[in-house]
Structure formats: structure tokens, C-alpha cells
């Protein structure tokens, strides 16, 4: 299995790791080795068992069977403290930082070195400045964490791990919260760490990242290792097939758009947040039948607020939203009334807004449509119709398992999303607002969802697609709007759009379009 040039034992070796959660076999007899001084990728779809494995390595879970070796020596890891002692550091997808502490305070948290803080802080400061010089990890040590951009917060997490003497760094989906530029910086930093002899495990579901920075890659599917290859000896397509277990389409196939009548017109829309800060500043655009308009931008530039204002969840402070000749803003229509007018909405954050996790699939399949005459009469729910409707939607959108009684939380992200999409399309809307349609969705389902969206376009619907995945926008949209700091800074036809052009606009450089 190992064809290393150096004869050093691997930095980390896993032998026969096995873990069950009740009926779920999360890790099946996993074995692989990570050579010292390399960046090792672990890739797999959501639910492939990556996170479970990392949690075992870091001591949050205990394996039912198997052995972990660090630098050739077997270690017992029962807690994160054991992992730290073994030289393993972890950067979680969701940062474990105390927001109102300074960077320095966060880093020494747990390793203060005595009851009196001052001494510990001073010696930590010196050590950190050294680390920062060695790895090019510049972070303002005395700034409160909540004031830092996410890219720097992540750096704090990395520094924290290094400060605790980590020799092996695990990064779990580190780019989920980063802009493309920030992600590039992160990858450069990983290169420097490798050059200094550190070992990095990069856990991700994004093929591009694996290809960009790793030396070797382990592919997981359904809790097992299905392949382990040198990165330069493989390709994105090859890895994708290994992950899914069959050939996949990475590019959506679609014909040219045939835009028809204007269905939705937005004029001079302004949305302020609860503190009165404008998040969307005088935005105007139109949506036409038979086209997908992509809304690109770095997360947090007003796309979410715009989407919620269109859907009726947030009240705009100014402007018009015209659908079918009616101004939704002036009439103050709520989301339910907008649905009746043919405006459907797949929300950006499925678990926060799109589904009720404690409910069954069938109860989720009527969310927002529970007052349709098909599902209730005189206030009394028609359970048979609800059940039948759910079965129909599940069949049409290939939701698996097709069991309407199962709790929604028991479905994978992709199947949840398919059910949400099915629900929103079932009432035959004219306009569909779609936010992050493939966030937390496995590749197989991404393919399916993308095909469905294109089919809807071809059926004459108007779609607004909000996504932070530039690939997705470029793959699906017929027209692209780019948002920066609450304004639409440019509009591009798909044919003239490139990643570079959009990237510049996302960073605030105004394009040659309108706006």
C-alpha cells in the first residue's frame, strides 16, 4: 500500500477502524496511512463517514474496533486531550472560538499555563509571533474574534492547533465559508505548512480542492475506503465516479434559453436589517419566462436579504416587486399570499427554514401549502390527501427512501432538498426563487436537481438562482447578476461570463453592464 520515498513511518495510520451508531454502520473496517509531510485528501459525499472518522481520530467518538498509530506507535485516543497530546490538531467546519475574546485569549484558552493569566499570555504571544513568522500566518493578536473576517478566524483556529503543538492538522470542509480568494490563500498556507514538515489531512467534498492541493487522496463511500490514489495520477471525473459509484455528469446539459415575457420586475428595492443598516441598496432587475438568472456574490453581500424580501419573509424599506401586475410590497403580501400568486421559494438554508426537522416527510411536504383546499377542508386536515401527495412528490423526484412517515431528519441532505424542490414546484408556480440548491447535497442529487431546474426553465418558468458556488452559476444560469455590498455591480450574459470577470465583480469592481 505504501510506496513512500522516505522510510519514515507514516504520520498517521489507521487499521481496521469500525464504528456503528445503532443501525447505521458509519465506518466499515477503514485502513489507510498518511505519510508525514504531505497534504492528504479525504473525499466522499455527505454521509460517507468522513466526519465520523475524523471525530474518532480527534477523540470525540470511540471506534468499536481498530487501531490508530501515530508515527508508527499505537495510541489510545479517548478524548481531544489525548489527540492533542499525540500531536493531532483539528480545525472544525464550525469554528470553536469564543467570539468576544481576543485572538490571543482564544489561543491560550485551555492552555493558560497557570492560574495567573498575564504570564501565560506573554509567553504565548512570543511563541505565536514565532509561529506567524515561520508559517506566514499573520493575525492581529489583540483583535476581538467577532471583528475578524471568517478567513482570519479560520487562521486563528489553525494557529490554535499549532500552538498546542500539533504536528498533524485535520481540516474539516475548510472552504465552506470562504470566498474563492480566501480559499486560495488557505491553500497557499497549507503548502507552507507542508514545506515545514507538518502533515495535513484535508476533508472535503469538493473535487477542485483535492486536485489543487493534495498529494494523495483517499475516497470514501458508504463508510468504506473505495480507493486511495496519488492525486497526480487521477482526475476530477475519475474521483467523482469513485465517490458516487457510477459515471456522473459534472456539466449540466442544456440547450439555449428562450426567454419569453417578463414575469417578475424588481425596482429600486432597498432592504435594511434590524439595526437599520441597508443590506440591499436600490436593486432593480427583471426575470423572464424560460430563463435562469444567476445571482452571484460572496456570501453576505445582500443576496440572502434580497431573496427573503422577494419571498415575503423580510419587508423591504423601499421599492417595488411586481408579479402579474400586482405590487407585492405595497400590498404587503406574506409568503403564503405570494405562493398563491405563483411565487415559490426554495430557501437558502434548508434546515433553518425549509423543513421542520422534527416532522415527518409528509408533514414537511405541505409546509407553506397547508391551507390549500387539496389538503384541508374547513380547517380539518385531509390526512389521506397529504399522504398521497407526499407519495406522488417522492416518486416524481426520486426521494429515497420513499417513506412519507419517516422523519425528515432521517433523510440525506440531497433527498431533503429534492422533497423541498418537489413541494415548491408541485403547485405549478410561475416564478421560482432558488437559494443554494445544492448546499450539503451529494453529487448524485446535485446532478438530479440541476437537471430539474433546467427542465423547469424549459417549461417556461422564470428562475432566480442564488448560489455562492460559482461553478453552479456558470453551469446553470442564462444571465448572471453579480452582487457586492448590497448592490448589483454587473450583469453578464452567460456567453460573455468567465470566472475571472465574475470574480472581479464579486470583489467590487464594477462591470460594464448596467447598474
Amino acid at each position: 500500500m505504501v510506496e513512500e520515498i522516505n522510510s519514515l513511518p507514516p504520520a498517521l495510520e489507521l487499521r481496521g477502524i469500525d464504528k456503528r451508531f445503532g443501525a447505521v454502520h458509519a465506518n466499515r473496517d477503514l485502513s489507510f496511512a498518511v505519510a508525514a509531510g504531505t497534504v492528504h485528501g479525504v473525499i466522499g459525499e455527505n454521509g460517507a463517514g468522513k466526519s465520523t472518522l475524523m471525530n474518532i481520530i480527534y477523540g470525540f467518538h470511540r471506534a468499536d474496533a481498530g487501531e490508530i498509530r501515530v508515527h508508527g506507535k499505537p495510541v489510545e485516543i479517548h478524548s481531544p486531550q489525548d489527540a492533542i497530546a499525540a500531536g493531532i490538531g483539528m480545525v472544525h467546519q464550525h469554528f470553536m472560538l469564543v467570539e468576544n475574546f481576543t485572538v490571543l485569549e482564544n489561543i491560550v484558552l485551555g492552555v493558560e499555563g497557570g492560574p495567573r493569566l498575564a504570564g501565560g499570555l506573554a509567553s504565548a504571544r512570543a511563541g505565536l509571533e514565532q509561529l506567524a513568522r515561520d508559517y506566514g500566518l499573520d493575525v492581529p493578536l489583540d483583535t476581538v474574534v467577532s471583528e475578524l473576517p471568517v478567513g482570519l478566524q479560520q487562521r486563528v483556529e489553525i494557529l490554535k492547533a499549532l500552538h498546542r503543538g500539533a504536528d498533524l492538522l485535520i481540516l474539516d470542509e475548510p472552504t465552506a465559508v470562504l470566498t474563492p480568494q480566501e480559499a486560495d490563500q488557505l491553500f497557499k498556507m497549507l503548502g507552507r505548512l507542508r514545506a515545514q514538515g507538518k502533515t495535513v489531512i484535508l476533508v472535503t467534498h469538493k473535487l477542485r480542492e483535492i486536485m489543487a492541493v493534495t498529494d494523495r487522496v483517499t475516497v470514501m463511500r458508504q463508510g468504506a475506503v473505495v480507493a486511495e490514489v496519488a492525486t497526480r495520477a487521477t482526475s476530477s471525473r475519475d474521483l467523482a465516479e469513485k465517490m458516487v459509484g457510477r459515471a456522473v455528469l459534472l456539466q449540466v446539459e442544456k440547450g439555449p434559453a428562450q426567454p419569453g415575457a417578463t414575469l417578475l420586475t424588481v425596482r429600486d428595492l432597498e432592504v435594511t436589517d434590524r439595526l437599520g443598516v441597508p443590506r440591499v441598496k436600490g436593486v432593480s432587475f427583471t426575470l423572464r419566462a424560460g430563463e435562469i438568472v444567476g445571482l452571484a456574490g460572496v456570501a453576505g453581500n445582500g443576496q440572502s436579504e434580497l431573496l427573503e424580501a422577494l419571498a415575503g419573509i423580510r419587508a423591504p424599506s423601499r421599492g417595488e416587486i411586481v408579479l402579474g401586475g400586482r405590487d407585492l410590497v405595497r400590498e404587503g403580501l406574506d409568503p403564503r399570499a405570494r405562493r398563491h400568486l405563483g411565487l415559490a421559494h426554495v430557501p437558502e438554508d434548508r434546515l433553518r427554514m425549509g423543513v421542520v426537522t422534527g416532522f415527518s416527510a409528509q408533514d414537511n411536504a405541505i409546509l407553506g401549502y397547508h391551507d390549500l383546499p387539496a389538503y384541508q377542508r374547513g380547517g380539518l386536515l385531509n390526512r389521506a390527501a397529504i399522504l398521497g401527495g407526499c407519495e406522488r412528490k417522492m416518486a416524481a423526484y426520486d426521494v429515497r427512501p420513499p417513506n412519507p412517515h419517516l422523519r425528515i431528519a432521517a433523510f440525506s441532505g440531497g433527498n431533503q432538498q429534492k422533497l423541498v424542490l418537489a413541494r415548491e414546484i408541485d403547485s405549478d408556480p410561475r416564478v421560482l426563487l432558488v437559494g443554494q440548491p445544492t448546499r450539503g447535497v451529494d453529487i448524485g442529487a446535485i446532478e438530479f436537481i440541476h437537471q430539474k431546474l433546467v427542465a423547469l426553465r424549459d417549461a417556461g418558468k422564470a428562475l432566480l438562482l442564488v448560489s455562492v458556488e460559482l461553478d453552479e452559476i456558470l453551469g446553470l444560469a442564462d444571465r448572471i447578476l453579480v452582487m457586492n455590498a448590497g448592490e448589483i455591480v454587473g450583469e453578464l450574459a452567460r456567453a460573455e461570463a468567465t470566472e475571472e470577470k465574475i470574480g472581479l465583480m464579486m470583489a467590487g469592481v464594477k462591470g460594464e453592464g448596467r447598474a
Partner: protein
């Protein structure tokens, strides 16, 4: 850190509570042993005292009736994402409504008094819940705080009314005159007697059947109506509710009105059924027991009924225990009740882990997943 353990439905709803209850009884037994009485005899006394005769059964279910009303009240609010600590005060004020109807209209025939008494109790209780609900919905004042405050306000108001206004003239005890007999809730022994079933005279009365009807009504409202659906969505996920066009503040108001109305029905049992007058502190803590009952009953009507009977049995059996065992005083009984609440409510998950491991070893089929079809969700 590990995901919540899943159990088969029958184990979730039957086995786990049973194990918790047994653990609580074992612990109580150990304490009874410590004070020098026989745990076995004590358990037998309690069980006998709660279910051993028609009389004890009557009392057990009489107490349970109060707990069904307040348990349902807490559960309805809970499903809307609200923690109603105010069932005690709502029951107190609701009872005032019922009592006033009985005092003023007691000369009317019973079948005319009954609907008005039910209505008045529900209205008064709902009105008392409305103010905290309104403050929560419109002003964001936390409902836990406001409902607690309203318990005190209810208590102060009732004391003032009973001491200064409603008191029967010329007596010490701050309580009203007795209702006219027309306003007495018929005892269950009378009703059963009419259909030829002999039953000892106990305070158990028609209100018990009304409580069961209320439980059925709550089930239909929550799981079979659009209104209940919206209520549960708003309770589980307010963001999803807004997304679906449901207005959480409106749900808050509606849920609390229903919650208050349910709690306010306690007077039907306690005042019309047993005391036949308005007296100080007649809810006697049933509003707080209702929290434990709802918790133990998984906020579902059937579960609440069972938990209410259990607590009724603890009160009745406990009173027999302290009656017959001189060393077990009423504080010991409170300790036993506390242990049951602790193990069945607050610490209910202690045995969940081991139990789920046991099941994981045996069953692998995905069918063991907890189903959740329109029916009550745990």
C-alpha cells in the same frame, strides 16, 4: 457528542418510562428503608391506597382530573414553543369564572349552569394567559417570566377578592358561601348509579369525563387541523413558520389562549366537583404538577392521561402512606414524588443509552426508526 439514540416506538413510549418509574421506586424504597420502615409494605400501602378500592380509585382519578387539565395546558403551549409556567394562576382565575357562574346562577338547572360554567372557566383562564402571551408576541417579554409573575398576581387578586369581597359574611375563613346544589358537578358514583353500576361516593365527578374530552379535543386540534399544524410548525421552527406564511406571534396568542382555557377548566373539577365554593389556593400546585405531567407524557394527550393518573396515584397513595405509616410524613411523600419527577422527567435519558445499545445489538432493520405520521410527535 453522539447523535440522539433511537429506540423502537414501543420501547420509547412503554419500556423506557417503565424502567424510569421502577428506578424511582427502588430509590424511594431505599430511603424508606433508611427511616426504618419496610419498603415492600410501603409500596403495597401506596398501591393499595391508590388503586386498592373503589374509594381510592375515585380519589386517584379525581386528582388526575386536575393534572389532565393542567398537563394539557402546558403541552399545548409547549407545542407552540412556549413554556407556560402560569397554569397555576390561570387555573386560579379560571376557577373564579366558574365559581362566579355557580354563585350567581346556581338557581338555574344544572344543564344550563354547566355550559356557562365551562365557558366562564375557559374565558377567565384564557384571559389570564392572554396578557403574558400578548407581551411575548408584541413586546418580546419572556413568557416564562411573565407567567410566573402572573401566578403571583392571580394569587394576590384572589386573596383580596376572597378576604374583602366574596367572603361569606361573618366567618374567619376567606371563602365564599357554598354553591347552590344545582351547580354541583354530579359525582361519578351518581352517574354510574343511574346506569346500574354501584360505585362508592368519592369526589370523582363528571369533570373527569370533561377532562378526557378535552384531551381528545387537544389531539384533534393539534394533529388534525390546519391551525394545529401551523402551531406545531411555529413551535418547532419559527423561521420555517415565517417562510410558510404562518405568523408566529399570532400562533403564540392562539396557543396561550387555548392553554389558559384548559388550565382554567380545573375549577370544574375542584370547585364544582368537590369544594362547592371558591376558597383560597384551590389549585394547590396542580399547575406546577402539570409541567411534570406534560414532560412525562411526552406532551401527547394519551401520555398526559397516563402521567396524570400516575401523579394522581402518587398523591392519593402518598396520603394513605403517611396516614398509615407514622414515620412517613408528608415531606417523605414529597420526596418520593420528587424522585419520580426527577427520574421520569429530568433524567429520563439516563437509561436511554444502555437501552438503545441493547436494541442496536438486536435489531438492524430501518423499520425500527421512530415513525412520525401525522400522529403525535415525541
Amino acid at each position: 457528542m453522539s447523535p440522539p439514540a433511537k429506540l423502537p416506538r414501543w420501547a420509547e413510549l412503554g419500556l423506557l418510562p417503565a424502567i424510569n418509574l421502577i428506578a424511582a421506586l427502588l430509590l424511594s424504597g431505599a430511603i424508606i428503608r433508611l427511616i426504618g420502615e419496610s419498603p415492600w409494605a410501603a409500596l403495597k400501602l401506596m398501591a393499595d391506597g391508590a388503586f386498592g378500592s373503589q374509594e381510592s380509585i375515585g380519589y386517584t382519578f379525581y386528582y388526575a382530573t386536575n393534572f389532565i387539565f393542567t398537563g394539557l395546558a402546558v403541552a399545548v403551549a409547549y407545542h407552540a414553543g412556549l413554556f407556560n409556567i402560569g397554569a397555576e394562576g390561570q387555573a386560579y382565575i379560571g376557577g373564579l369564572g366558574t365559581g362566579l357562574v355557580c354563585l350567581w346562577l346556581g338557581a338555574w338547572p344544572f344543564w344550563a349552569v354547566l355550559p356557562l360554567a365551562i365557558l366562564a372557566g375557559a374565558l377567565f383562564g384564557a384571559a389570564w394567559a392572554f396578557i403574558p402571551a400578548w407581551l411575548q408576541a408584541r413586546r418580546g417579554s419572556h413568557i416564562v417570566i411573565t407567567t410566573i409573575m402572573f401566578n403571583f398576581i392571580a394569587s394576590a387578586l384572589m386573596t383580596w377578592l376572597l378576604v374583602n369581597v366574596l367572603i361569606r359574611p361573618g366567618q374567619q375563613s376567606p371563602e365564599t358561601r357554598e354553591f347552590a346544589p344545582n351547580a354541583f358537578m354530579p359525582g361519578l358514583h351518581t352517574l354510574l348509579g343511574k346506569i346500574g353500576i354501584p360505585f362508592t361516593s368519592t369526589p370523582l365527578n363528571l369533570a373527569f369525563l370533561l377532562a378526557l374530552a378535552a384531551a381528545a379535543l387537544v389531539w384533534v386540534l393539534l394533529w388534525r387541523t390546519r391551525w394545529g399544524y401551523a402551531l406545531r410548525v411555529a413551535g418547532r421552527n419559527p423561521a420555517a413558520a415565517v417562510y410558510a406564511g404562518i405568523r408566529p406571534p399570532r400562533v403564540t396568542l392562539g396557543a396561550m389562549l387555548l392553554s389558559g382555557a384548559l388550565a382554567g377548566s380545573l375549577g370544574l373539577n375542584e370547585l364544582m366537583g368537590s369544594q362547592h365554593r371558591i376558597l383560597l389556593d384551590f389549585p394547590g400546585g396542580a399547575g406546577f404538577v402539570g409541567i411534570a405531567v406534560a414532560l412525562m407524557g411526552r406532551n401527547q394527550p394519551v401520555g398526559i392521561f397516563l402521567a396524570a393518573v400516575l401523579f394522581g396515584a402518587l398523591v392519593q397513595g402518598g396520603s394513605q402512606l403517611s396516614f398509615d405509616m407514622p414515620h412517613v410524613n408528608r415531606d417523605m411523600v414529597v420526596v418520593i414524588q420528587g424522585l419520580v419527577i426527577l427520574l421520569c422527567g429530568a433524567m429520563e435519558n439516563v437509561f436511554r443509552g444502555p437501552l438503545s445499545r441493547l436494541f442496536a445489538g438486536k435489531t438492524r432493520s430501518p423499520k425500527s426508526e421512530i415513525r412520525n405520521d401525522g400522529g403525535p410527535d415525541a
